[in-house]
C-alpha cells in the first residue's frame, strides 16, 4: 500500500483549483481597444458616446462595442487594423476634444472582471507602445540648492556689513560641487564672517581656509545631505512625470524609479514620441529678477561681462538686458499657472505659495515702477562640430520672456503677458505640471508598433504551444502512463505560473514567454529525475509500490539542490536585471518554484491516487 497524507491531497487540489481560477482571464485574451478621454478631463457622457459611434459607422470603421469606463470611452475592435483606422479617424475629427490612447480590453466575462480577476498585463513589446528612460541630473539639483545658499550668504553678509570678494560653488573632496566658498579681502575678519553664517547655513559644515588672495570661509554639504537632496530630486521628478503622463491621457502608464538616478516611463499604445517627449522632457523654469537699472545693458553686452551683482540676459528679440543676481521667486514657489486672456493678448496667470508670495510682496512694495524680468530657462542639447568630430553639450537656454514695470503691489497672484497664443498654452501646461527639481534627459527610447506587438504575441504563443505539444508527445512515448501523468503535471505547472503572474500583475514580455517555454522544459527535469529513479529501483528488484515511494524520496535531494542553485541564478537576475532580463528572471524564478511544487507534490498525489491502492501491482507502465 502506498499512502499520501489527506491534507496533501487537499492542498494540491485547492491550489490547482485556485490557480485555474486566477489564470482563467488569460484564456479569454484581450480585444484591441481605443480609449478616449476628454482633453478638459471631464467625463464623457452618453450623447458624446453616441456621436462617436455614429462617426465611426459613417467612417466605415468596424467596432465591436463601446462603453464608458470611469469617465472614459472605451471602443473595442475585432482587430488591430480597425483599431488603428479608428484612432486616425478620431484624431483627425475630434482633435480638439479627445485624447486617444491605444489600449487593450480583457475579453473575459463580466463576472470575472467584477471579481477583480484580470489577465497578465502585456509588456510594451507585445502590445506596442513607447518606453523612455530618463536620466535625472542630480548634480543639477544639488547646484540649485547651493545657489539658494549663495543668495543667503550674500544677503546675510550685506546686512551684517561684512565685506566679501565673491561667493562661488566649489567641489571639496568631491567630483561634483558640494559646497560654497566665500572669499574675503586680505585683512577681513574670517571668524566674524563664519559666526555670521552659522545661523543661515546651520545645515552646512563651516570652516576657515586660507587662499592665495586672503582668508575664505568654506561651507560644505555632508554626504548624507547630498544623498537626501538627490533622493528628493528623484522623488519630485517622479511626481512631476506622473502628473505630466496623466495629462497625456494614456491608459495604464507606468512611471517608476530605476536605479540611483533614472526614471523609466512606459506608455502603452503611444507611438508618437515627439509630442510625448516635448511635454515630459522639457524643463522649464521661471526666475523672477529685478532689472539692474544702474548699469547700461548695451555696454555690458559689448564688454561681454556683467557688472558685479548682475547677470546679462537677452530678450526674445535679442536686445540685451541686465538683471540683478538675486532671485525674487523661482518656479519652485509656483503653485499654479494657467492661460488667461488679457488686454495685451494671451498671457499666463500665476499663483505662488506663501513664501513666494511674501517675497514678491516685499519686492514689489520696495520697487514700485521699477522693472522686473521673467527669465524662462529651458534645458536641451546642442551639437557642434569640432575638428570634424561631433560633440554634444548641454545648453541652458536662458531668455527674458517678459520685462514689465511693476505697476502695483502684489503678492501671490499675478500675470505674465507678452506671449503668443501657442506659447502661453505650452508654458502654462509645463509650469502647471509642476517644477522639476532636476532637469531630465532621455537616454533611452524604444517604440514598438502595435502590429509588431501582435506579431510577437502570435509567434511567442505558437512557439509555446508547439514546444509543449512536442514535449508531451515525447514524454508519453518514453514513459507511457507515467509520461501522461508528467504531461498533466506540466500543464498544471503552466496554469499555476500563469495564475501567479496574473496575481502579481507582472507584465508579460516576449522574453517572459520564452521563460514560460523554458519552464516547461525544465519542469520536465524533476519528473525525469523521479521516473529514472523509479526505473532504477525496479531494476534493482524492488516492488512497484516501494519503487514509487523510494523514487520520490531519493530524487528529492537532487531536485531540491539542483533547483535551488538555478533559483539563485534566477534571483540574482531578478535583482540586477532591468527590462527584458527582469521579465525573464521573474518568470524563470516563479517557474522553478511552481515546478518544484507540481512535480514533487502534484505528481506524487496523482501517482499515489492511481497506483497506491492496487494490491496486486506487479508492473509499472513506466
Amino acid at each position: 500500500m502506498l499512502e499520501y497524507a489527506r491534507w496533501k491531497y487537499i492542498l494540491v487540489a485547492s491550489v490547482f483549483i485556485l490557480a485555474l481560477f486566477f489564470a482563467l482571464p488569460n484564456f479569454f485574451g484581450e480585444d484591441a481597444a481605443l480609449q478616449l478621454a476628454r482633453k478638459d478631463k471631464a467625463n464623457i457622457d452618453a450623447p458624446a458616446q453616441q456621436a462617436v459611434e455614429k462617426f465611426l459607422t459613417d467612417q466605415k470603421v468596424g467596432y465591436t462595442k463601446t462603453y464608458i469606463d470611469s469617465g472614459r470611452l472605451m471602443i473595442r475592435f475585432p482587430n488591430v487594423v480597425e483599431q488603428l483606422k479608428a484612432r486616425d479617424a478620431v484624431n483627425d475629427h475630434f482633435a480638439a476634444q479627445y485624447l486617444t490612447a491605444l489600449s487593450f480590453a480583457p475579453r473575459a466575462p463580466e463576472l470575472l472582471r467584477r471579481l477583480g480577476l484580470r489577465p497578465m498585463p502585456l509588456g510594451l513589446d507585445l502590445r506596442g507602445g513607447l518606453y523612455l528612460l530618463y536620466q535625472v541630473d542630480i548634480n543639477g539639483a544639488v547646484n540649485q540648492l547651493l545657489e539658494g545658499y549663495e543668495q543667503d550668504i550674500r544677503r546675510t553678509l550685506a546686512q551684517a556689513n561684512l565685506p566679501f570678494t565673491d561667493v562661488v560653488l566649489v567641489s571639496i573632496d568631491s567630483t561634483r560641487p558640494n559646497g560654497l566658498q566665500v572669499s574675503l579681502p586680505a585683512n577681513a575678519d574670517a571668524e566674524a564672517v563664519r559666526k555670521a553664517l552659522v545661523k543661515p547655513l546651520s545645515d552646512l559644515k563651516l570652516e576657515i581656509v586660507t587662499l592665495g588672495s586672503g582668508p575664505a570661509v568654506q561651507a560644505t554639504m555632508t554626504p548624507v545631505q547630498m544623498r537626501q537632496r538627490q533622493d528628493y530630486a528623484i522623488q519630485q521628478n517622479l511626481t512631476t512625470l506622473r502628473n505630466r503622463v496623466n495629462e497625456l491621457g494614456v491608459s495604464e502608464p507606468i512611471v517608476q524609479r530605476q536605479g540611483l538616478d533614472r526614471i523609466n516611463v512606459q506608455l502603452p499604445g503611444v507611438q508618437n514620441s515627439a509630442e510625448v517627449k516635448d511635454i515630459l522632457g522639457k524643463v522649464a523654469t521661471l526666475e523672477f529678477r529685478l532689472e539692474d537699472m544702474q548699469n547700461n545693458a548695451v555696454q555690458a553686452a559689448a564688454r561681454g561681462r556683467a557688472p558685479l551683482g548682475s547677470k546679462l540676459y537677452k530678450m526674445r528679440d535679442g536686445r540685451p538686458v541686465l538683471l540683478k543676481r538675486d532671485i525674487i521667486v523661482t518656479g519652485d514657489e509656483l503653485t499654479d499657472a494657467r492661460t488667461t486672456a488679457t488686454q495685451e493678448g494671451p498671457g499666463v496667470s500665476l499663483k505662488l505659495d506663501a513664501r513666494g508670495g511674501d517675497q514678491m510682496l516685499k519686492t514689489t512694495r520696495a520697487n514700485l515702477d521699477r522693472r522686473m524680468g521673467v527669465v524662462f530657462i529651458e534645458r536641451g542639447h546642442e551639437t557642434t562640430t569640432v575638428n570634424g568630430k561631433k560633440e554634444t553639450r548641454e545648453v541652458t537656454n536662458e531668455e527674458v520672456i517678459n520685462l514689465a514695470t511693476i505697476r502695483g503691489v502684489f503678492s501671490n497672484n499675478f500675470q505674465i503677458t507678452g506671449l503668443a497664443a501657442g506659447e502661453a498654452r505650452d508654458l502654462a501646461l509645463l509650469l502647471r505640471s509642476g517644477q522639476l527639481a532636476a532637469p531630465l534627459d532621455p537616454i533611452e527610447e524604444r517604440a514598438v508598433g502595435p502590429s509588431l506587438g501582435q506579431d510577437n504575441i502570435e509567434k511567442g504563443v505558437r512557439a509555446l504551444i508547439i514546444g509543449m505539444l512536442a514535449v508531451f508527445v515525447f514524454m508519453a512515448f518514453y514513459y507511457r502512463v507515467f509520461g501522461l501523468v508528467a504531461d498533466g503535471v506540466l500543464l498544471s505547472n503552466v496554469v499555476l505560473l500563469t495564475a501567479l503572474l496574473s496575481i502579481m500583475r507582472a507584465s508579460l514580455s516576449l522574453p517572459g514567454i520564452a521563460g514560460i517555454i523554458l519552464t516547461v522544459g525544465m519542469a520536465v527535469d524533476a519528473n525525469v529525475l523521479i521516473y529514472e529513479r523509479i526505473r532504477e529501483e525496479l531494476r534493482a528488484g524492488v516492488s512497484p509500490q516501494s519503487a514509487i515511494r523510494l523514487g520520490f524520496e531519493k530524487a528529492f535531494s537532487a531536485i531540491a539542490d539542483s533547483n535551488i542553485t538555478t533559483l539563485i541564478a534566477g534571483l540574482v537576475l531578478w535583482v540586477f536585471g532591468t527590462g527584458p532580463i527582469r521579465g525573464f528572471a521573474i518568470v524563470l524564478t516563479l517557474g522553478i518554484a511552481t515546478s518544484m511544487f507540481t512535480s514533487l507534490m502534484g505528481s506524487r498525489a496523482l501517482i499515489t491516487l492511481m497506483y497506491g491502492g492496487r494490491r496486486k501491482l506487479t508492473k509499472l507502465p513506466i
Binding site: 527610447e445 511567442g460 512557439a463 527535469d525 542553485t565
Partner: protein, 299 residues
C-alpha cells in the same frame, strides 16, 4: 575519469579558440550595450537592402547597417550612437527616407539607446555573473561540505558561457540583453546537471565510504546519464521550438540557449566532477564525521 585529461584538453582548446576569437574579432554587441539606434521596418514587397542603405547614406545617416530581419520584406537598420540622437527627429527623417524607397513601408520598432546605458549594463551584467557564482559556490560548499565540489561546479559552469561567447564571437551574431539573460539561464541549467551528479556522488559515498573517488564519480555520472540526456533532449525540444517559431527577436536568445545546453551537458559530465577529483576529493570531504565515527569503532 581515466580519460579526463583528454576532455580537459578538448575544453582548453575550445576555450582558447573562444578567447582567440574574442580577442581578435570581439563580440558583435547590440545597441543595448553600445548605444545607438535600432529600427525594424517592413515593406509591402521584398526590400532591397542595398538601395535602402544608399538612400539612408544619401539622407545623411552615418554608417547605417541594413539587413533583412526575419523575412525578405522586413529589414533591420542599425545606426551608431550619435551625440544628439533624438528619437522623434530620427523617426521623421527615417520614415521619409524609407517612404521614398517604397511609400508602403512602415517603421515597426524604433529603439534609441544612449551610450551611458550600455556601460552600466556591462557593469551590472558582470556583477550579476560574479554574484551568481559566489552564491552558488557558497551554497554547494554548504550542502556538500567541501569546496572541491564548489570549485568543480564553478569552473565547469564558467566553461559554458565562455563557449557561448566564443561561438557568438566567431559567427558575429548580435549580442544583446536577451542573450545575457540566456547565458545566465545556461549557467543555471548547467549547474542543475552538475548538482544532480554531485547529489549522486554524495549518495555513493554515503552507501560506501571506502569507495575509491574515481570509481564513485564514474558510477555517479553513469547512473545519472540517462536522466541528463533525457532532460537535455526535452529542453532542446522547447528551445528548438523557440528558435524556429519565436521570431527574429528571440533568435539570439534561443541560439545562446542551444549552444549553452550542449556545452552544459558536456561540462557537467566531463569537467565538473573531474576537477573535484583533481582537487583531491574523497568521501571524507563529503562526510567528515563518518570517518571519525568509524575510527572510534576500530579497535
Amino acid at each position: 575519469m581515466a580519460t579526463r585529461k583528454v576532455w580537459y584538453g578538448l575544453s582548453v582548446v575550445l576555450m582558447l579558440a573562444s578567447f582567440a576569437s574574442f580577442a581578435t574579432r570581439g563580440l558583435n554587441l547590440g545597441i543595448d550595450f553600445t548605444g545607438g539606434v535600432s529600427v525594424e521596418a517592413s515593406f509591402p514587397t521584398s526590400a532591397n537592402v542595398d538601395v535602402i542603405r544608399t538612400r539612408l547614406e544619401g539622407a545623411g545617416f552615418v554608417d547605417p547597417q541594413v539587413q533583412n530581419f526575419g523575412s525578405s520584406r522586413d529589414i533591420a537598420i542599425r545606426l551608431p550612437p550619435s551625440p544628439a540622437q533624438n528619437g522623434a527627429a530620427i523617426r521623421a527623417k527615417l520614415d521619409q527616407t524609407l517612404k521614398s524607397v517604397d511609400p508602403g513601408s512602415q517603421i515597426l520598432r524604433l529603439d534609441v539607446v544612449g551610450p551611458q546605458v550600455g556601460n552600466e549594463l556591462k557593469k551590472s551584467a558582470i556583477m550579476a555573473l560574479g554574484f551568481t557564482l559566489l552564491l552558488i559556490f557558497i551554497y554547494i560548499a554548504f550542502r556538500f561540505n567541501t569546496w572541491r565540489l564548489s570549485l568543480g561546479a564553478i569552473l565547469a559552469v564558467l566553461h559554458d558561457p565562455i563557449l557561448v561567447l566564443g561561438i557568438f564571437s566567431i559567427t558575429q551574431t548580435s549580442f544583446d540583453l536577451a542573450v545575457v539573460a540566456a547565458i545566465l539561464a545556461v549557467i543555471g541549467y548547467s549547474l542543475n546537471d552538475t548538482v544532480v551528479v554531485f547529489d549522486r556522488i554524495r549518495e555513493r559515498f554515503h552507501a560506501n565510504r571506502r569507495l575509491a573517488s574515481a570509481l564513485a564519480l564514474d558510477q555517479s555520472i553513469n547512473q545519472t546519464l540517462s536522466r541528463t540526456i533525457m532532460t537535455k533532449v526535452v529542453t532542446a525540444i522547447v528551445v528548438v521550438a523557440l528558435l524556429f517559431l519565436g521570431g527574429a527577436v528571440l533568435r539570439g536568445f534561443s541560439e545562446a540557449l542551444m549552444i549553452g545546453i550542449i556545452a552544459g551537458t558536456y561540462s557537467s559530465i566531463y569537467i565538473s566532477s573531474a576537477i573535484a577529483l583533481d582537487c583531491g576529493l574523497t568521501s571524507e570531504h563529503v562526510f567528515p564525521t563518518l570517518k571519525k565515527a568509524a575510527a572510534d569503532v576500530l579497535p
